[in-house]
Symmetry: C2
Subunit: 338 residues, 2 copies
DNA sequence: CCACAATAAGACAGCGTTGTCAGTTTCAAG
DNA sequence: CTTGAAACTGACAACGCTGTCTTATTGTGG
C-alpha cells in the first residue's frame, strides 16, 4: 500500500541505508548513486514516514508552537511566521493553543512532547512566562525559543522588541502633538509586556515633565470590550483626556467605538493610539496611529533560532516602528493653554 | 530516559500488551488489572508515543486541518472549533495553511498524509473545492470532511450553511428598510460561497420586484482593501446605492472606512452590511449588521463527523442568523420616492 | 463435576526508519 | 604495483508501540 524506503531502495538498486543517507543528506554517497536514489524517490513519489523517523532517529522533524493569546490577528501572524520558517526547514509545525491559567498546563506540555517527540518548542507570550512550563522544558532538555518574554534571564534564546521604548515613543509623539492629559489603557495582567508598556508611558511623561495622574490609567484585557469599558471610564472623568493610548489595537478599536457613540470627533477632539499594527489597525476608522510590532518576523526569527547551532543562546531584539495614521492629531486648542 | 510502555508494564506487573489494552480501552481486561495499570500510568506520568502507535497500529491519533483563507478571524474560529473537538477525542490537530492556486497542492497534501499518517482530514473552503485535492484524498481512501464546500455531490461528509438563503435574508432586510439601490460586493472568486451569496442577493431582488443592475455589483477578494476599492467604485456612480452589502465583514469594514473618508453618514445616508459576524463586525463603527455564520460550530461539527461512524456520509446544515446592528437603517427619504 | 465457551493475559513479530558497525571499493603516496 | 587511509555501501538491531496468535483462567449449563 504505502510507498516505503524499501520500495525506493529496490527501484534504485541500493540498500535502504543508502536511501536513508540520501534523504538525510549525509556524506559518503557517490554522486551517481545519489542521483539514482533521488530519481527513484521522485518516480515513486516517496515521502518518508515521520513516525518511523522519530522512532528510530534522534529527530522528529516537528516542532510545537504554544500560545495563549486572545487576539486572533496576533496569533495569525505568529503562526504564519513560524510556519514560513518551518517550511524552509522542511519541518512540521504543531500549533497548540493553551491556557496559562490552567494548573495542568505544564503536564499538558510535557505530554505533548512525549507524545509527539517534537524537536523543539516555540513559546509565545504569555506562555513564555509560565514558570511551570519553563521548568518542564528545561527538565526535559528540549530546546525552546521564546517570543516576547517578560524577562531575558533564562538560559534560552528569545526574540522580542523594546516595549518600553515603543510605548515611550508613542507617548512622546502624543506629547509633541500638544497633549498633556493622556489616558492609558493597560494590557492583560498575564502579559509582562503590559507592565513594560505602562512603564514606557510613564517614562515619557516624566522626561517631558508632565505629571503622572493615576486616574488616567485604566486596566484592560487586550480585547475590544475591555478597551471600550476603559474608554467610557476615561471619557466620563471630570476633566477627560485629550488622547488615549491603548496598549494594543483591539482595545484602541474599543476606544474608537465609544468615541463614535459619544459623538466625540477623532482626532479633532480626541486622539487615539494603539499598539501592534495588526490588520485591525487599518480596518477601523480613522485608521489607528500605532506601533508596528514585527510580529511575523519575531515568529520567523524565533523558529530560525530553534534550528540554528545548538547550545548558543541568543537574545535578538527586533525594531519597532511608530506608524502615524489618522486617529491622532494636535491637541484641541483649549487644551494647549492651561 | 523516556518513560515507555515497558516501564508501565513493569510497575503494574503485567505485560506490555495488557497496558496497551488499557490504553486503547479494549475488552478483556479485569477491572482490578485495569486499575493497577492506570495507577502506574499516572505514577510514571506516561504519555504513549504517537510515532510508535502510528507505526504499529492502524491509527495515528492525528488529523489535519487544511485551509487557505485570508481572513484571520475566520481561520481562528475554524481552528478553535476543530481543536475543541480534537481535545475531546484525545487527538492532535495539524493546522496546515495551503495555497489553492499552487499546482503542487495535491502533492503537498499527499506528502502530508504519507509523512504524518493522519487518520483524517478537515478541509476548509476554498480547499474544499480543489479537484486535485479531492482526487488525491479519495485515491488514498482517507476519510475527510469539508467545511462549507461549494457542492455537496461528493461521497463525503460536509457541514455548511445556506449561503443563498442568508444573502437573501440580508438583502430582503435592506429592501424592507426601503432600499432600492443596493450595492453588492462579491467575494473571492476561488470561493464557491461567493457565487451563492451573489445568487441570494439576486433572488431577493427578483422576489421583491427590484430590477437587478449590473453596475451595482463589484468584485472583491474578501479582504479589507478590495472592499474599500469596491466601495469607491460604487459611491462614485452617477446614482450611488443607498446600501452596500459586502459579502464578508472584512470588505464591509473597507466600505465603512471609505464612507467615513467621504463623509457619508452611516447609516443615515448609507447602510452597510457584512457577512460572517467575525469579531471585526463589532470592532468597527458603527457595528456591522451582518450574518452570523456559525463558523466555530461548523468546524467543531465537521471534526465530530470525522470521528463518527465510518462510511456514513452526512451533510449537515447549520443555521445562520441575521444580526442587525447600527450600520444599517431606513433608506434616506429621497430614495423612497422614485 | 465435566465440557466448553467466554474472558483474560502474554509471547512475539513487525511497522518504516536511523544508528552502529563491519565490509568493500577507490585513490594517492611510496 | 603495493599499501593504507579515506570514501562508500550494506547488514542488522533497535525505536515503542499494536496486531495476531497462543495459552491460561474463569464461568456456565447439563
Amino acid at each position: 500500500m504505502r510507498v516505503t524506503i524499501k520500495d525506493v531502495s529496490r527501484v534504485a538498486g541500493v540498500s535502504i541505508k543508502t536511501v536513508s543517507r540520501v534523504l538525510n543528506k549525509e556524506r559518503y554517497v557517490r554522486a551517481a548513486t545519489r542521483e539514482r536514489v533521488e530519481a527513484a524517490v521522485k518516480a515513486l513519489n516517496f515521502s518518508p514516514s515521520l513516525a518511523a523517523r522519530a522512532l528510530a532517529g534522534r529527530r522528529s522533524f516537528q516542532i510545537a508552537l504554544i500560545y495563549d493569546n486572545h487576539s486572533p490577528f496576533y496569533i495569525h501572524q505568529i503562526q504564519e511566521g513560524v510556519w514560513a520558517q518551518c517550511k524552509e526547514q522542511g519541518v512540521r509545525m504543531l500549533a497548540q493553543p493553551a491556557d496559562v491559567a490552567s494548573p495542568t498546563l505544564a503536564a499538558e506540555v510535557g505530554g505533548l512532547i512525549d507524545e509527539t517527540h517534537v524537536d523543539g518548542v516555540i513559546l509565545s507570550s504569555p506562555v513564555t512566562d509560565a514558570p511551570a512550563v519553563l521548568v518542564e522544558l528545561e527538565r526535559r532538555g528540549i530546546p525552546f525559543v521564546r517570543i516576547s518574554p517578560g524577562t531575558n534571564h533564562a538560559l534560552t534564546s528569545s526574540v522580542f522588541m523594546d516595549d518600553v521604548q515603543a510605548a515611550d515613543d508613542m507617548t512622546t509623539h502624543l506629547i509633541n502633538e500638544g497633549h498633556k492629559r493622556i489616558g492609558f489603557i493597560v494590557g492583560h495582567p498575564n502579559h509582562m509586556a503590559s507592565d513594560q508598556r505602562l512603564f514606557g508611558y510613564r517614562r515619557a511623561l516624566d522626561r517631558a515633565g508632565v505629571a503622572f495622574e493615576p486616574s488616567l490609567v485604566q486596566p484592560g484585557q487586550f480585547d475590544f470590550s475591555s478597551g471600550a469599558a476603559a474608554a467610557e471610564a476615561l471619557l466620563s472623568l471630570g476633566e477627560p483626556p485629550t488622547a488615549i493610548f491603548a496598549s494594543n489595537d483591539d482595545m484602541a478599536a474599543g476606544v474608537l467605538a465609544v468615541a463614535h457613540r459619544m459623538d466625540i470627533a477623532v482626532p479633532e477632539a480626541l486622539s487615539v493610539a494603539g499598539f501592534d499594527d495588526t490588520e485591525l489597525a487599518s480596518a477601523v476608522w480613522p485608521p489607528l496611529t500605532t506601533i508596528r510590532q514585527p510580529t511575523r518576523d519575531l515568529a520567523y526569527t524565533a523558529a530560525g533560532l530553534l534550528f540554528s547551532e545548538e547550545g548558543v543562546v541568543i537574545h535578538r531584539r527586533l525594531q519597532h516602528e511608530l506608524i502615524v495614521r489618522g486617529s491622532t492629531g494636535r491637541a484641541p486648542i483649549d487644551a494647549l493653554r492651561p
